[in-house]
Symmetry: C2
Subunit: 335 residues, 2 copies
Amino acid sequence: MATENRRIVLASRPVGVPKPSDFRLERAPIPAPADGECLVRSHYLSVDPYMRGRISGRKSYAEPVGIGEVIVGAAVGEVLESRSGRVAAGQFVTGALGWQEHSCVPAKALRVVDPDAAPLSAYLGVLGMPGLTAYYGLLRVAGVEAGETVCVSGAAGAVGSAVGQIARLHGCRAVGIAGGPRKCGWVSSELGFEAAVDYKADGFPAALRAAVPDGIDVYFDNVGGPVTDAVFHRLNVRSRVAICGQISQYNAVDAPLGPRLLWHFIVKRIRAEGFLVFDFREHDRTALAQMAEWVSSGKLQYRETVAQGLENAPSAFIGMLGGANIGKQVVRLVA
Amino acid sequence: MATENRRIVLASRPVGVPKPSDFRLERAPIPAPADGECLVRSHYLSVDPYMRGRISGRKSYAEPVGIGEVIVGAAVGEVLESRSGRVAAGQFVTGALGWQEHSCVPAKALRVVDPDAAPLSAYLGVLGMPGLTAYYGLLRVAGVEAGETVCVSGAAGAVGSAVGQIARLHGCRAVGIAGGPRKCGWVSSELGFEAAVDYKADGFPAALRAAVPDGIDVYFDNVGGPVTDAVFHRLNVRSRVAICGQISQYNAVDAPLGPRLLWHFIVKRIRAEGFLVFDFREHDRTALAQMAEWVSSGKLQYRETVAQGLENAPSAFIGMLGGANIGKQVVRLVA
C-alpha cells in the first residue's frame, strides 16, 4: 500500500489555453479520515470541460480553485477506511475527490457504485455527471418530443454521444456535429445517429443544412461559437435550445465576438435555457436507473479515452479542451 | 367627402437607415367594398418597429411588402360603408389597413372599438398591439412574479412604457432603459418606474449596475445590441428574458457582431424566449379588458407622438427607428 499521496494543484491561473506548467504535482502524506469521513483510493479521475471555468479566476456558479489547491473533479475508487456507518471499507464510491490518488471526504458526499454492474470508469461518464447532463438537458430542459429533429454539438463527447442516443430512444432523429471524420464516423456508424456533420470540413454550414432537411427542433449545445452560429440558421419555429456548454470559448482571453443571435429568437420564437446538472439532483436516482438499464441492454453505448497516471491528468485535460478525446476522457490511477 | 385615396407604397427596399425616397405617395380612386367588406376611412396610422423587417427583403415570420405595394400596418378609423352584417357604417374599427387614407377590408378582419372609452389613437397603442405585446411578454413569456426586479429596454416606447407599469401593478420593481434625459425623466417621474437609466450617457453600464443593486430577474428586451449586452451582466440566477424586439439592429446592413452571450445562460441558468404578439391572440379579449380597466382607472398611463398627414408617415417611421418618439408614434390622417 502506498505511503504517500500524490495530487495535482493549480500552480498558476491559465491564460488562454492551459499549459502543463499551470499545474504542479505534489506529494503529501496520505490523510487520515476524521469522524464521519472515508479514506478513498481513486481508480479513475474525470476530466471535464467545466474545470476550465473553475481554474480561471472568473466569477461563476462555483468558487474558483485557489492557487496551490487541488484541482476539483469527480473520481471513482475504493474505500480503504471508513469512519461512517453509511459506507464500508471495500465498497466502491464516486464523489468530488479531486485530482489526487487518495482523499478523505465525508461519507454523505459519496455515492456507492456497483463495480459488477458496469466498469468503474462508467460512473464518471454515461452513469455519472455527463450522462445525467445529457438526460436532463434533453428531457427536462429542451422537453424533446417524438418525431423531432435533435441536433447536438460536441456529439462525440461524453455528453453529446449520450444526447443523440437518448434522443433516438425517444423516437427522434439525431444529428451530431463533431470535429473530424473519425468522430463523425463513430457517431453515425456505431451510435446510430441519422447524420453526423464535420464542423472542421469545408462547407460545414451547407453540410449541416443538407443534414437537417426539415430543420432543427431541439439543439443541445456543448460548444458555442461558430458551430452554434450555423445551427441558429437552421432552427425551426418554436425550437428549443438547451445550453449545456460553450467549450469553444473556454480558453478565450478576451470576450469573443460573434454574430448577434437574439433576432433569431423573435423570428422563430426560440426558447433557450442554460442549465447545470446539479439543479436536477432530486431526480438523479430515477435518471441513473434509466441510464443503467439502457447501458446494460445495449441501447446506450459509450466510449472512453483513457490516460494513464495522475501525472498525465493535465495533458489529458488540455487535450480534451482541444477535442483530442473521443467519448469520455478519464485518467486511470491504478495499474 | 374625399374622392381620391392617397396611399404610401414601397418605392425601393431600404439599405441601412430608410430614406424618404424609399417610399412614394400615390393617388388612386377610393375603392368600393366587395361583399363582406367594409370601406374604412382611417383616422390614425400606426408606425411600429416591426415594419422595418417587412420592407426588407429578408425572410421572416411574415411575407415582405413588395415593391409598389402599400406599406402594411395597423390603423383605426370609421366605417364609411359596410357590406357585412358584422359591422355597421359609422362604427369605429381597427385592423391592418395599411398606410392609406381609405381601405376596403373583410369585416371579419376588423375589431370594433369604442371611441368614447378611449381616444381612437389609443387602440393603436396601449389598447392595441403594443399594449398586448407588453402584457403577454411580461406575464406569459417571462412569467414575472411579485417582488422581482424587471428591466425593460426601449422603456419610453409604446411597449416599454407599458411593460414597466404592468410590472409595478404586479408588485415588481421596474427599471427602464431609454435614450436621453427627457425619456428617462418621463419614465421615472411620471410613470413611476423605480429607476431609469440613460444608455446614451457616459458610464451607462455602471449606472445600470447602480440601478439594480439586487440584479435583474426579468429583462424585457425591445432593443438588443450594446444595451442588452450590458443587461446580461446584471441578470440573476434563474432570470428570464422576453425577447420582443431588437430595434438597434434593424437598420444593420451586415450581420452585426457583438459579444457572445450564451455562456451567461449556463452560469445563471437564464431562460430566454422570443415571441410575437399574435401567438397569444386567443387571450386578446381578456388582456384588452384588463388593459382598458387599468387605463380608465389611471393606473396605466401612456403618451403619444403624433405626426400630421399621410405624407409624413415615412418621416415619422424613420424618426421612430432612430428613437425620436416618446411613447407611441402615430400619424393622424384627419384634420
